[in-house]
Structures are given as structure tokens and as C-alpha cells.
């Protein structure tokens, strides 16, 4: 089973804090891999918030291809962070090449375009680079987005953390998603490793999604080029969230109504029953069938946790003003934020969405039986 840990902090913290939390939950995962999403960066990247950052792993040949590709499109490097290995590669971790995060200066014509057009361009470039490198495995890209770095590798999270030196100050950030396991339900593939990122939306999931195939087919047929990949059944959770906020223009409070709608009886008493019934009907193909705990981060840096309809997976949220964490297990929370009020820890149940806004002041619980904010 995967173990998940996420942090939302007012001040930048080291990703190692999340890796350590994963380490104390080691009994619950097989230490077969790690995936990290780092956003709202401190350090030098934090000073170039608008610059898209490309994260990935490149062979020398891949780097040449990348430079040619970016050069052709007028993107100029602003800053490069190479994660030089500090130890011998851990057992089972292959030597893949350069682990890199590189911030770019956009070309003038793209700068002049709207934010939506820029975001579409970043996504299309990431997908194209991913496709370019797939056959020769010389380019692996996980994200191309402002203020965001992603790292994925096979191996024990702690060992990988030390190997890649994830305690370096350039990686300090305010939002961290960390997952401790290579996806073993399907073929071993770095693209199958959580968290999954699409245009600022990032999620990771504990548990297998039994409705994966119909959901994948539905997303693939939406005609949006970012809905691709699906080496893991969990990738669809990120894309459903993307669909919810980008295509349907709904807020986080609606996500759970899409993936785990209320029963008809529960809906009857709901203030927004007409809207909820329409959502349940039209988004029926996006209903998940658990057992899943989903933790994620939205483009506005709001972080959340939701459970499946039967609440079949563990998950807890807790912290103190200034720093909150979402964790598969309480011991992970204890390791990361020992000095919090444990009585205020909350384990979201089958109707809850636990939300921590970027200000990190409190955990807001949105229950599906509550009335909803109007869509904007």
C-alpha cells in the first residue's frame, strides 16, 4: 500500500521533513519508490515565480535534445538546479542521468499572451517532451510549470533523499506532496509514480481505483491533450480534479460530489439537490469506486484530502497555525509536527473534504451534506 504525506507551511521547509515522515510510516509501504511535488518555492526559484520550471531526468543526449527544443521555441534558461548525487546509487535505483530543475524565461510572444494560453503552451510542451523521450528513455519530464519542482525515482525514500541531496536549501518550499512507493499494481514505470501533475493540479492516492478503465476511457475521450499517460490507475484522480476546476469551473468543494456523489436519499435533503443530481448524472463516468484516499494541491496552493465513499483507507490531517500536514498515518504526523494539538487531529470520513488554504491557519472540513458555494 502507498503511504502519503503532504505539508502546507507558511514558511519554506525542507522536503526532507516529508521524507522523514514517510520513513516513520515505512511499515506500511514497501520503500520501492518516491515521488515529490514541491511548490511555492523558497530559495532562488522563489524569486522567479512566473518562470516555468521544467523538472525531470535527462541523459546527455536528452539534454541536447531539450536544449535544441527549447531554443527553437525561444525559451532561455534562467536558472538550473542539478541534483548531483551525493552517495552511491541505492540498491535497485538505476543510473538514469541528470536530475534537473530548470527555470526558463518565456519568449516575448508567449509573454504577451493570456495566462490561459501560456498554461496551455506549458502543458503541450511537457507532453511533447515526454513523447520525444519515451522511446529512447532519454527524457523524462514530470512537470513544466511556474514555481513547481517534481522528483520521482525508484528506491527507498530516505535513501533517495540522501542520494539526491534533497535537503539542499534550493528545494525548500511551502507545499510538499510526498509518496513512498513505486506503483506496483501495473508495470514499473516512473510515470506511474505518484504524485501526478497537470497544469497546477497535483494529487497522489492511496489504494487502487477499481473503476479505472471506464474513467480512463472517459478522460481520454474529452479531447484534452493533457489527459494522457495513465500508467497508473491513480493518475485519473488528478485529471478529474483538473476537469472539475478547469472545465466545469467548480471549486474544491465540488470534487467529492463528482467522484463520490451522495446517495439519492442523502441528496433529497440537500439544499443543492438539483445541481447535485445533475452533477451525478452528467459526470457519472467519473465516479470512483474506492478504496482511495486522495491528497492534493490546487493551482491556488490550497491542499486537501478526501476519502472514498466507504472510507476504506487511512488518512489524518493535523498541525498548528503556520504548518499543517496530511498523512496516511498518525505516526507520520507526529514525526513532522510533534508540537501540535493532537486532539485537533482530524480523520476525514466518507463525506468529508479536509481543506488547508495557503494561509495555513486552520483545517476546514467540508461535508458533502452541507450546502455548496455557488459556482463562479
Amino acid at each position: 500500500m502507498c503511504r502519503l504525506f503532504a505539508l502546507s507551511s507558511r514558511d519554506p521547509v525542507s522536503p526532507m521533513r516529508a521524507i522523514e515522515a514517510l520513513n516513520v510510516m515505512k511499515e506500511g509501504h514497501d520503500g520501492s519508490g518516491v515521488g515529490l511535488f514541491l511548490s511555492d518555492l523558497g530559495g532562488p526559484f522563489g524569486e522567479m515565480k512566473d518562470a516555468p520550471i521544467l523538472s525531470g531526468i535527462f541523459t546527455d543526449e536528452g539534454l541536447n535534445c531539450l536544449d535544441a527544443y527549447m531554443g527553437e521555441r525561444g525559451f532561455v534558461t534562467r536558472k538550473t538546479l542539478v541534483l548531483e548525487p551525493r552517495t552511491k546509487a541505492p540498491l535497485g535505483t538505476p543510473l538514469r542521468g541528470t536530475y534537473m530543475a530548470r527555470a526558463y524565461e518565456m519568449p516575448a510572444d508567449l509573454k504577451a499572451k493570456s495566462k490561459a494560453e501560456q498554461e496551455l503552451a506549458f502543458m503541450l510542451m511537457r507532453v511533447e517532451l515526454r513523447r520525444m523521450g519515451e522511446a529512447a528513455e532519454n527524457i523524462r519530464v514530470f512537470s513544466f510549470w511556474p514555481d513547481t519542482i517534481m522528483i520521482k525515482e525508484v528506491g527507498d525514500p530516505m535513501a533517495i533523499g540522501e542520494y539526491l541531496g534533497l535537503d539542499r536549501p534550493e528545494l525548500d518550499c511551502r507545499r510538499i506532496l510526498a509518496q513512498g512507493r513505486q506503483n506496483t499494481n501495473y508495470a514499473i514505470n516512473l510515470y506511474a509514480c505518484h504524485p501526478f501533475f497537470l497544469q497546477g493540479v497535483c494529487t497522489m492516492t492511496n489504494g487502487e481505483n477499481t473503476a479505472f478503465v471506464p474513467i480512463r476511457e472517459y478522460l481520454l475521450s474529452r479531447g484534452f491533450p493533457g489527459y494522457m499517460g495513465y500508467q497508473s490507475d491513480s493518475e485519473v484522480f488528478a485529471h478529474i480534479m483538473h476537469y472539475t476546476i478547469n472545465r466545469l469551473q467548480f471549486g474544491i468543494e465540488y470534487y467529492k460530489h463528482i467522484i463520490t456523489p451522495l446517495s439519492d436519499t442523502e441528496m433529497e435533503a440537500h439544499a443543492d439537490r438539483a445541481l447535485l443530481a445533475r452533477i451525478k448524472q452528467t459526470c457519472r463516468k467519473l465516479i470512483i469506486d474506492g478504496p482511495n484516499c486522495v491528497i492534493g494541491c490546487l493551482p491556488d496552493k490550497t491542499m486537501f484530502m478526501v476519502q472514498d465513499r466507504k472510507k476504506l483507507r487511512p488518512g489524518v490531517v493535523g498541525g498548528k497555525p503556520g504548518i499543517f500536514a496530511f498523512s496516511s498515518e498518525i505516526c507520520g504526523l507526529d514525526a513532522a509536527i510533534p508540537d501540535r494539538d493532537q486532539n485537533a487531529d482530524f480523520q476525514p470520513m466518507h463525506l468529508d473534504t479536509a481543506i488547508v488554504r495557503p494561509q495555513c491557519q486552520e483545517v476546514t472540513i467540508c461535508n458533502q451534506l452541507q450546502s455548496l458555494p455557488r459556482p463562479h
Partner: protein, 544 residues
Amino acid sequence: MQSAAVITPSTLSVNDLPWQIEWDKDTCTLCGRCTAVCPVSAIELGVHRKRTVEATPALAKKPTNSYSIYHGIRQRTDPAYHCIGCAMCNMVCPNNAIAPRLRPEATTLKFHNNRGGAARTRGGRRNDGGSLLDQIKFIRISMLTDPALDAGRHEFNLRTLLGRIQPPEEGLAALADNAWVPAVREIYPLMIGSMSFGALSPNMWEGLVMGVTYLNEEMGMPVRMCTGEGGCPPRLLRSRFLKYMILQVASGYFGWDEIIKALPDMKEDPCAIEIKYGQGAKPGDGGLLMWYKVNKLIAAIRGVPMGVSLPSPPTHQTQYSIEESVAKMIQSMSMAWGFRVPVYPKISGTTTSTAVLNNLVRNPYAAGLAIDGEDGGTGAAYNVSMNHMGHPIATNLRDCYENLVISGKQNEIPLIAGGGIGKNGNLAANAAALIMLGASAVQSGKYIMQAAAGCLGSEHDRCNVCNIGVCPKGITSQDPRLYRRLDPEKVAERLVDVFLSFDTELRKIVAPLGRSTSLPIGMSDGLGISDYHVAERLKIKYVV
């Protein structure tokens, strides 16, 4: 030696007949119930003369003959009166002295059932026991990567949607603008397939409607039943129970005068309107109610004279193009109920079904597509149509679903699959397999007749006399002497039993697959089969 009787090409012996009567002289009480009950007069009183030669050992005395007469049963060998294997003789025999036995190797009758140049007509099914659906296994069992669900205790939502579902963006915008949205019904995924009032006896129909009502109102299961082409009893049209009915209109428009007349008095809208363009049992052929069954009541409901055969044309008279006429018919039907009722076509399985579907996708009023595979049943059809015409449901459905997936419309137009579901008794397994291949719902008629009313039909050409109104169980007869055998209350009880056990079995299938919150429509990764080519064709797993 007696001279032989005249032998004509169609003179058959008992051994030429597939169903042969075995009769035991010692246990027979000569009560005559078997000959009275036989629906096709295949057996008659036999007065048998018996000669006994009495000879002493070593022929000490000249042998003598004694002659005796005994009474019993004689099986008729005239092809017009061949035994149909219904075994009603056995059912009424107090001593179990008589029973028909199937001799599949006796095939001569097949060559002589066209007397007078009339090709064989019959009711029933395709008479082929093979079932691809029975071979499909459910192989994705949740255990450790995700926990299995508890079929008995977890919450399950096994409902489906019938009607045109808008894409999310459009549906939500319509709600915001208070605009018209297509009618959508949430129904149970097992529907009772179209069997008309006329094809079925009044008692059978009453029993089904009572059972459906009980399931809806007492058990909370939104089960729906399609009327078939034959109208609907006027009182039902004007009752609140109409909402459980799907009214069918077909090329003969039988019964639609009464339906249109009842429109102003309707208390409820019907669940849906099914426009029948084709039927799996006799593709390319219209409906057929033979004259035997057109009595006063049926004639009144259908608006026709009594005692005439009622063949519906193979196609709707107004139809000349799918683009225009089907769209018009869907719109006309929608308009009759103020666009509050889903209207969908039903076609027989055919290689052209994807063309029909693609057209419906472009028609915003089309509420679904029902496809009836070659294993569908019928009350009356030509034998050749039943046995040789049509398309198997599995690939037809799969092709259509995949077409919808390519166009991104898989949530918008429900596919309803029918034809051969539960033909060997595996109703829930067959239904679940079709749902996971892409069906939103399944339709079944024959299984319901067999399980709820005791229909004797089988895949071995047993009984199959639904067409001539002599149904020995009173299910498809319009003769009160026959249909009084069928107690509508008992039919209703059995129907409820069937649906409740189906529901349990369906949960027993989906729970181990880790599915409970929505019907696993299109969850093809859960299916496997040990036939490589089938697996490739259906895009499911090949497992051995």
C-alpha cells in the same frame, strides 16, 4: 402377413420424430388426462390388438393363437401432429406412466414440416444451447491491492440511467439557464423485454404488471417493463402504474389508437417509448400475431377485426432514411408527451448497428439504443429467421460501446442489450458480462417467462407453440380454458423472486470486483475468456 399401409414421402414412424412418447402399459390407469391435455393432439387413445402364440415344449401339441385387445396410448406420426416435448402428459399423469423423450438423432421430421408449401413458423428461440456469455469469467478479484466489498452488508447502488444524458458542461449550463433538458429515468438495469398483450395471455400480463408494481412500490426496485407492440390495457394507461411501463411502437402501430386516445387522461407519463425497428429473433421481419390469438379483447385493444393474422410490416411505412425519418419519429413521440419522456429505438443486432448509433449520437432527442441479439425470443416467427438470421449480441454491443468511447459519448447514449441473456439460466452472470462490455442495461423476456411463469421452452425445440395459442401453461394463449391455468398472483410472486435473487447475484459479482457505488458499465478489464480470438475481438483478457 398384413399388407403395409400406404407409404408416402411424408409417412414417418415414431423413430423419425425427435420427441418420442414412452408409455408404460403396466402403470397407466387409462384415465385419459394425457390425451386431453396434449396441446397438439400428438397422442390419442390406442386400441391395440395383441396376438399371443401358445406353444407347448417340443410341440407336443399344435400351437394355438389367442387374441386380446388392450387400451393405451398411440403417438401420432403425422408431421402435423408431432409431439413437441412439452411433457404436459407427464405432468398430469397420476402414475408417471408417460413421458416424451428427446432423440436428437431423429431428424427426419425437419424435412417434412412444410406441408402445403408453408414454411415452418413457431415461437420460442434459436434452439442453440451455446452461449458465449456463459464463457465469460469475472477475473479481477479484489483482495489485497484493494479490499473486497461485502455483498451482504455494504451499500450498493446498482441503478442505471435511461435517457439522453447531456455532457457535463452542457447539462450544468442548462440547469443554470433553466433550459430544457432531456428526460432521464433512473431504473433497474434488468428490464423486462417487450412481450405484447396478445402475444402473452391476459393472466400473464396481469401477473407481470403486478410483480413489477410490487418491486417498485414495496421493494424500492425501479424495474421497468416494455409492452411490446400490442398496445396497453386502457385501465393501465389511465392508472398511476403507467410510469413503470415502456410503451412500444412498431411498424404495425397496433394499439396506438387506444394510447393516443388515453393521452389526455393519463395520470403519469410512461417510463419511456421504445420504437421497434427490429427484433433479434427475426431480424428484418415485422411482428406477427397469428389469427388463432386475435380474440375479441385483443382485437379491441389493437383496433383490428377478430380472427385475422396481424403481421407488422418489416419496416415503418414512413421510413426511408435514418437521418430524417427516425429523427422525425423520435421527435413526434417526444412531442406527444411534451418532451418529458425518453424515446429510443430498438434494433436487431446487425453489422449496421454502428451506423444507426452514429446517427443517434447526432440527434439530441435520441434517448438510447436497444440492440437485440440473435438469441432473442419471439412469440411467432419463421423457423429460418429464428435459426439463421441475426447478429450475436456480444460483439455488436462491444462495437457500439467502443464507437461511443471514440466519440466521447459513452455516458450520453445508454445501450440496452438483449438476446440470449440467461438462456442457460445464468441471468446475473450474463447481464453483468454485458454491462461490463458496455451495456447500460439489459432486457430479458424468455428468462422471465421461464422463471416467473414456468414456460417450458428450451434450446432443444421443446414446445415452441407460442404462435398458435395453445400454450400448455397458459402464458401465450388467448384461450381462457388454457390461461386460467396461470394464476397472476403466482406469476407476480415469482417475478419478485427472480428480481430479488438477481439483485443478490449481481452484488455477488460486482462486490468482489470492488464495485459498489456505480454500475460497472464498460469495466472490461474485469472480464476474461479462454478463447483467444474472442478475447482479441472483445478486447478483454485471454485467460487459460
